[in-house]
């Protein structure tokens, strides 16, 4: 059932489509994020499965990749929509008007990566304490491990 993919591809000229391990992935520019998601929802992708992000620290020019996994229950298809945002003040439109269930996921991405979602009803920290500084899942945020001293070893880490 690749017609739905073709319809969406023809509607959005600046999207680039790939197939990664038998899953369809479409990359859209950050400005077209909301419009593409809206079109996908109308085309049959009723369920938003997940919103997450990846921090490509130095490997890419645009640092953060925001990923949304969509599921179409009527067509039994999956679609992964990705976009890339800049390193300074990363921001992208929020999907909350389309799927209220994206609220928690976008808050988590904001908490962990610092990506701002415009139009989000309540963009605050969700997993870390409110006064935490820093965004833990960024690559330049250390793991925060405590050196463990083993009695058997002679040296202290």
């Amino acid at each position: 059932m690749s017609e739905v993919y073709d319809t969406l591809a023809s509607k959005f000229e600046d999207s680039s489509w790939t197939v990664s391990h038998s899953q369809t992935v479409v990359s859209v520019p950050a400005e077209g994020w909301f419009a593409f998601a809206e079109a996908a929802k109308e085309a049959g992708f009723e369920l938003l499965s997940d919103v997450t992000a990846v921090d490509w620290m130095r490997q890419r020019e645009k640092r953060f990749q925001v990923v949304a996994n969509l599921v179409s229950m009527s067509l039994r298809l999956r679609l992964r929509v990705v976009t890339y945002v800049d390193r300074d003040e990363p921001s992208v439109a929020s999907l909350c008007p389309l799927w209220p269930g994206a609220a928690f996921a976008e808050r988590e991405v904001f908490d962990m990566f610092g990506v701002v979602f415009e139009g989000h009803p309540d963009l605050t920290r969700i997993l870390m304490p409110d006064e935490w500084e820093g965004h833990p899942l960024r690559k330049d945020f250390g793991v925060g491990s405590v050196p463990v001293q083993f009695k058997a070893s002679n040296q202290v880490n």
């Binding site: 899953q23 990846v54 996994n69 269930g101 996921a105 997993l127």
Partner: protein, 450 residues
């Protein structure tokens, strides 16, 4: 102003659960017959069929009359460290806000430090009631990036273990659900049954919980000799015990009054809030990843997907009981049709050699050493694999940059999304219904906070 709770249930005959006849029989002293009793207002009020309507329902209440109360994070009924901020107006919950993060463990960051072979040990502790499902999602994602196919015996063992895990997770859900609503015996029953399944897990994987059994490439060890007898004993025993639960709950008027019409999530709300699993199926949507996007050879087995109608607490409870029966069906089919062969991919670059070989062959020793210190490298790429865990769609989004550790591992946690519907389900309902609703959504905070 939507009433999410229908306060007038139809009258229910009083009889002792388990017996056929109503308790009261007409006597044969002449022409006496039991007259149709007029509804006793006191009895109806006590039974909850009629609620004295002195609650203030209209919207023009004074803001001062509302009180914000904190429930949790340390609370016996919130299923872990969930904090609910409730805005109460008398006994009615107007608005609520779940606040999470009290169990955040940084597992996604830890996953970037562990090798792909050590990954299951991390992922298994996310949804700690369905650990094998987490390991399965992760292993399937790694195998997809590696482009390997596991042997059929490994697939069958995986299905056997995950379906038994579904049974044990639903038993905990029923136990805590019952205990929260007041049926304290359910707690004892549920955990008693779970012990027999955990015994089997301990014999097979070595641990009662957090097994680290399903690894990329297959499973860790083969099933122990005599496993068929153990599984047959479980299959024999469990349906009788489930009948005990039905005796206790199915026709119990207290249970019905507290669960029917309570915590309703409609189909549109469920789709809007990305809810999957039993709450979605209770709302009437037939969506199960085992049927829609089958994994690990589950399409070979015959089973039904129970679907509810109204999306209330009762439907979610009923679906869990039915799903236990369906999973036992799958387990018995797997038991009969277990293929012989390897329990993991024979590729020595991915799976360690058998322990006996290490003494004999230098190459085996080197492989073992490299796999457990450095780990195997996975080609660059990204993928998303989802399995149907007892709580919903448990997915693993894995990005590799060609190294021995994941570049990014994200778990799509079902409870994380299911919790978002709590404010909707609990709006304008009574405080007591809050507990029932939270219990029926079955959140596991390890999954939510990761």
């Amino acid at each position: 102003m939507n009433d999410s709770r229908n306060l007038e249930t139809e009258s229910v005959d009083i009889w002792i659960a388990g017996t056929e006849e109503p308790q009261f029989q007409p006597t044969d002293e002449g022409d006496q017959e039991i007259l149709e009793t007029e509804s006793d207002l006191r009895m109806d009020t006590q039974m909850g069929r009629v609620v004295e309507d002195d609650y203030v329902f209209d919207d023009e209440t004074d803001e001062d009359e509302r009180m914000i109360v904190n429930m949790g994070p340390q609370h016996p009924s919130t299923h872990g460290v969930l904090r609910l901020q409730l805005e109460l107006e008398g006994e009615i919950v107007r608005r609520s806000k779940p606040i999470i993060g009290y169990l955040h463990t940084g597992m996604e960051k830890t996953a970037e430090q562990l090798t792909f072979g050590q990954g299951p040990m991390n992922v298994t502790r996310m949804d700690y009631l369905a650990p094998l499902h987490g390991e399965l999602a992760y292993s399937l994602a790694v195998e997809r990036l590696l482009d390997v196919e596991v042997p059929p015996r490994a697939e069958a063992i995986r299905i056997l273990m995950t379906e038994l895990n579904r049974v044990s997770s639903h038993l905990v859900a029923l136990a805590t659900n019952g205990m929260d609503i007041g049926a304290l015996s359910m707690m004892i029953y549920g955990f008693r049954e779970r012990e027999s399944i955990l015994d089997f897990f301990e014999k097979t994987t070595g641990l009662r919980m957090n097994h680290n059994f399903i690894r990329p490439g297959g499973v860790a060890v083969d099933l122990h000799p005599g496993w068929k007898d153990d599984v047959a004993a479980i299959l024999d025993d469990l349906p009788k015990r489930l009948a005990e639960y039905d005796d206790l709950l199915q026709a119990n008027p207290i249970w019905l009054a507290r669960t029917k019409g309570v915590g309703v999530i409609t189909k549109e709300e469920a789709l809007a809030y990305s809810i999957t699993g039993p709450p979605l199926r209770a709302a009437g949507v037939e969506w199960d990843l085992r049927k829609a996007f089958p994994y690990s050879g589950i399409e070979k087995y015959e089973f039904d997907v129970p679907v509810g109608e109204t999306g209330d607490v009762y439907d979610r409870y009923r679906i869990k009981v039915d799903e236990i029966h369906e999973s036992l069906k799958i387990v018995s089919q797997v038991m009969d049709a277990m293929p012989k062969g390897d329990y993991r991919v024979p590729d020595r670059k991915i799976t360690p050699p058998p322990r006996g070989r290490i003494d004999e062959s230098m190459e085996a020793l080197i492989h073992h050493f490299k796999l457990f210190t450095e780990g195997f490298k996975v080609p660059a790429g990204e993928t998303y694999v989802a399995v149907e865990s007892p709580r919903g769609e448990l997915g693993c989004y894995l990005v590799s940059d060609g190294g021995a550790t994941p570049y990014r591992m994200h778990t799509r946690a079902p409870s994380f999304y299911n919790l978002q519907a709590l404010p909707i389900a609990m709006a304008d309902s009574l405080m007591a219904d809050t507990v029932a609703t939270v219990a029926s959504m079955d959140p596991v905070m390890g999954d939510v906070d990761r």
